[in-house]
Symmetry: C2
Subunit: 224 residues, 2 copies
DNA sequence: CGACGCGTTGATATGGCTCAAGAGTGGTGG
DNA sequence: CCACCACTCTTGAGCCATATCAACGCGTCG
């Protein structure tokens, strides 16, 4: 109903143990465009992003879409509720994931340390989502985009000379659906930030932050 | 900075045991306008609403506000992240709460059953917030208000003859800040739903749902 | 080389915001 | 019990930010 991908060829399992403290985990890889899970699927596994980027989306019958989150390395996705997933999840680039069992989150019996890790990830998730609410509900388009770039820079920015460079693995439409805007508005807002010399756009998906302070000021013209 | 209430007189503790399976809990009451906690406070307790209604908010420096959620009986609030709360929380009406210790959520040692309950509450919270994203990012004002009324009706609606009645303990401004609108737009949208005979407004804060189907259709003109 | 997908830009439309004025509503004190 | 006041809600008029509709450029791939 929501997607074209068929599940069986979605993932490639490799039986590979990680740290002893987080034993029994496997690693899988997901290729761009392939779905890790769909809304409504039975949620038996929880995934920790090791490399790559995931995209979590919610889609309405009429096609309107909301990108709930992007999953970067260190993020954990697939928290179940009522035994099922509540978003779709696919990969924006080749992504490797550490697979955990739902039971590892929901019970401390098996592996207390892992249980603790997953629990803390869920709590961080709640906190992050609360931030995003403020963004969706109360920020202007520049503030939204500035916040978004700021967050990416803090998280996965790479130094480029004296500046910070951010690579955007997602198309404009995804940024729009994440921020509650249209692609046109996202594009215009990029242009606006570029013309005011706050950012430079190398390649379409490569942003250099020229004035970190100015960006931060716009992004947090509000932050509590 | 954010509020006028002083903390010390916020709560009234009663040492009262509840079910044996959830022992060691206390009940507290919070009066309307009093804060249960503020953003940034050390999060040592988690609260389960027994009666009344709570309001969770996030406020920006310039005063813009987002209502993150309303806490109705059965809801659990105060999930910590990094040891602190990430919203403000106050009461809309006299509210009684079951107090849990942060440790009961973060460790299964003390009371496994309670630990499980709190964990499931956190997972439900994540799921509920994902729904709210779609609302904030992608719905029109009528859709937002209809969804809001629909959710309240499902949750706390009371039969009134053949119809369902919903009491709104919060002012229009709170509904606006929850839905990412202004009070004026909320008011106009109420009028719109009233004029189209979908709802009736008895007293300002008492809504009767006349056409449940029509309301649901508007609310989920999108639902995935 | 052509076609398609994505991004940008332009022109116009519009939903919801802002500013402003009134109408309910509830509380308080004379 | 009523008069007043403060506050919330509603309604109106106009405006503005973002959406919509449309054209075009650019890069990629067959």
């Amino acid at each position: 109903m929501y997607v074209t991908a068929s599940l069986p060829d979605v993932v490639n399992f490799e039986t590979k143990l990680t740290k002893p403290s987080i034993a029994r985990n496997r690693t899988i890889t997901v290729k761009p465009g392939k779905h890790l899970y769909l809304e409504g699927d039975a949620a038996e596994r929880i995934y920790e992003v090791a490399s790559g980027v995931l995209r979590l989306t919610r889609i309405m019958e009429d096609g309107r879409r909301q990108v709930i989150a992007f999953g970067y390395p260190g993020d954990t996705v697939g928290f179940p509720s009522g035994g099922t997933y509540h978003t779709d999840c696919d990969a924006l680039e080749p992504t490797t994931l550490i697979v955990h069992q739902r039971a590892d989150l929901e019970s401390a019996k098996g592996n207390p340390a892992l249980h603790q890790r997953l629990l803390q990830a869920a709590l961080r998730e709640i906190s992050a989502m609360q931030d995003h609410f403020l963004m969706l509900g109360r920020k202007s388009s520049v503030e939204k985009l500035a916040s978004f770039l700021q967050a990416l820079a803090d998280r996965v920015g790479e130094p480029l000379g004296a500046f910070t460079q951010v690579t955007l693995p997602m198309p404009r439409a995804d940024i729009a659906d994440f921020l509650g805007l249209t692609t046109e508005t996202v594009s215009r807002t990029f242009t606006q930030l570029r013309k005011s010399q706050i950012i430079a756009i190398d390649h379409v998906n490569t942003v250099v932050i020229l004035k970190p302070l100015a960006l931060k000021t716009i992004a947090t013209s509000d932050e509590d």
